[in-house]
Symmetry: C2
Subunit: 427 residues, 2 copies
Amino acid sequence: MNRLVISNIDCNGQLSDVLVEDGRFARIAPVGGEDPQIARVLRQPGLKEIDGSGRKLIPPFYNCHTHAAMTMLRGYADDMPLFAWLSEHIWPAEAKMTHEIMYHGVRLAMLEMLKSGTVFFNDMYFGWERCMEAVEEMGLRAAVADTLIEARGDERIEGFFDACRRNSRPGCDRIQWTVAPHAIYTVGEKLLRRCAETARELDLRLHIHLAETRQENDDCLAAHGMTPTAWLHHVGLLGPRTVVAHAVWLSQEDMEILKETGTTLVHNPCSNMKLASGAFPAKAVIDMGLNVALGTDGTSSNNNLDMHEEMKTAALLAKLTGGAETLKADEALRWATANGARAFGIDAGVLEEGRLADALIVNLSNERLVPGYNFVSDWVYSADSRAIDYVLCDGRILMENGRVPYEEQIIEDARRSAADLLHRLGK
Amino acid sequence: MNRLVISNIDCNGQLSDVLVEDGRFARIAPVGGEDPQIARVLRQPGLKEIDGSGRKLIPPFYNCHTHAAMTMLRGYADDMPLFAWLSEHIWPAEAKMTHEIMYHGVRLAMLEMLKSGTVFFNDMYFGWERCMEAVEEMGLRAAVADTLIEARGDERIEGFFDACRRNSRPGCDRIQWTVAPHAIYTVGEKLLRRCAETARELDLRLHIHLAETRQENDDCLAAHGMTPTAWLHHVGLLGPRTVVAHAVWLSQEDMEILKETGTTLVHNPCSNMKLASGAFPAKAVIDMGLNVALGTDGTSSNNNLDMHEEMKTAALLAKLTGGAETLKADEALRWATANGARAFGIDAGVLEEGRLADALIVNLSNERLVPGYNFVSDWVYSADSRAIDYVLCDGRILMENGRVPYEEQIIEDARRSAADLLHRLGK
């Protein structure tokens, strides 16, 4: 049995001893209460114990929209409008990426995510088999898909659906498939409907880019006489198991559709700002009570996978556009943690007995958490990744005292893969 | 003589050996060139040497507007409009802060600044004597003032001017005085004119909050029939030795005044967003060719002193408001580094022989700097403070392998001072 005790740690504001068993929080007991379950375990030899003194146990981040392998394109092209950036730089480079290069990109992405406190990512990219292999090896959670693009042909799309149906790869229950049509401008009505049906048939979540730019909004209005959100609703793609990334350009009616269908919006503030896509309508979305989670988008448009930075930026942008009282610290934290876990059916994101043991251990002596009048404010608005000592996922320690296993090897492999990519690009 | 060699380090894109002598870069020589000056020094006993392999030497940050002692109010009140936040929470707490509490707040601020790569801060607060003492002890650079507010009375203001005149405190040339009238809504015309005269007489820089909120803009128009910028120009306060903080609400004419006078604008994007003050007109300011530096503002409105975060946020906000090509990575980096140093007459911010030896040593194996196609992009858009191994200021090592001397003591003192403050507030 996989057991761990974290002793003398602040958990939900109370000094506690925390027992983790079989991937879940088995017991969270006040320190000094001589809890019999914890006392019994503490007598067992070989038990892993973490001293939580001066530390706090908090929920980790759930990154609900990214393209992990794109760490291989971090800094490859910047500071230009979306379409020129994609068509002149990103797409030509992606055309030369092998699955081996993507595998090392995903490993680099997961190293970065662990270092900044993220245990789950919802991925939309290519090379899903090697992506799942990398996730299984490194111990995070992920939702993985082959990005479905009409122009890539039916055979490839059906091949992916077949793989989902046969459930041919997931080696562990930390990995789920999703059906991920890229966007309404790369996938036509027939395939969108087929995606919705397949997701229903196989009980999978749907993941799509939606209303990211004004151009997408205007083009859809011209082509279909309705907004991108209304169009997706029309083809049956929205619902409580659908996550839509970006969702920047929303009318009042769009927000009502998203509310009625129970769709989750994934806000990507850094990417939307960097690509000048627009400002997410945070105040209206909060006032309407929509489901919101956060994502980093890929590292070629952000340029990192730091959900903490995303959380603070979401709060700042919401206040700038909606007033200083919009998206208070505790709500920004929920967007980055519990809301994301819930959207993907992960029984975690809050620290309670019986829940999956996903958590961060942060050092309360980190200077940015001092004096410490209000931990949530300090964590959301002040801290950075240096405050994180440990990352736990599914009851396992994935980062210990700031160290991730094999990190030097992951960096070296990523550099070698990047050199390979440049060579293939003739650079 | 205070000497240091940094060997085998990437400096301005070339693998170099760097000799620091008497606070300046004495020699930056290509590795393998068998430079005689460096070879001679390397033979001397007791020389301090840093192995720069796999690392890069870059300019540090210059924080051009902050209220350092306000670390004592980090997280004390958040998520509310500017005036309620100030009048109901911040001002009552400040009224109870002793100079001893402020001293420990400044030390905590400097610890945080060093950890995130900042070597200079332009401060506007109270308790200047203890602030200067703290700066002298910890080795950073600073511009320090007593914040001048009309309501505090002539005696206090004249006392500060006298202190400047007698130059009664600076214990080292890393510290300069400034004349810092708080804002146009707390200082009347007569005192503003007196500040301008005193700064001219004593050859000091002027530092003031300007056009931070729409309210300030509208009130000034109503009272004086001109914008805050035009009003400051009218009273003779603008010029090449004046730095104006925030500068959010600017007309085209205001920008022309700021250009003609050679005034430096200090942009504080995180604070302006968090307090919903407004969006700095980055595109127009860049197109006009104005002098811009960056600042963090105080930690009760940000809530940290991380200039790296400020630099990235400035770039993101500029793109959102001005398009994806606005404020490219290299210009954002200049705003955060060289422009700030220049505004305060500090002969640093670029890495050249003869310049003051202020620098950061960053670890190129930090996962956020990998693959590493474009260092400036990776540094501005992807990295965080974890990539910084060393901080040098004035040729001295202020942070070594991530450690600042006495950091535990600084944290402990800050916590004790915060408890003292709460006690004084009856909490």
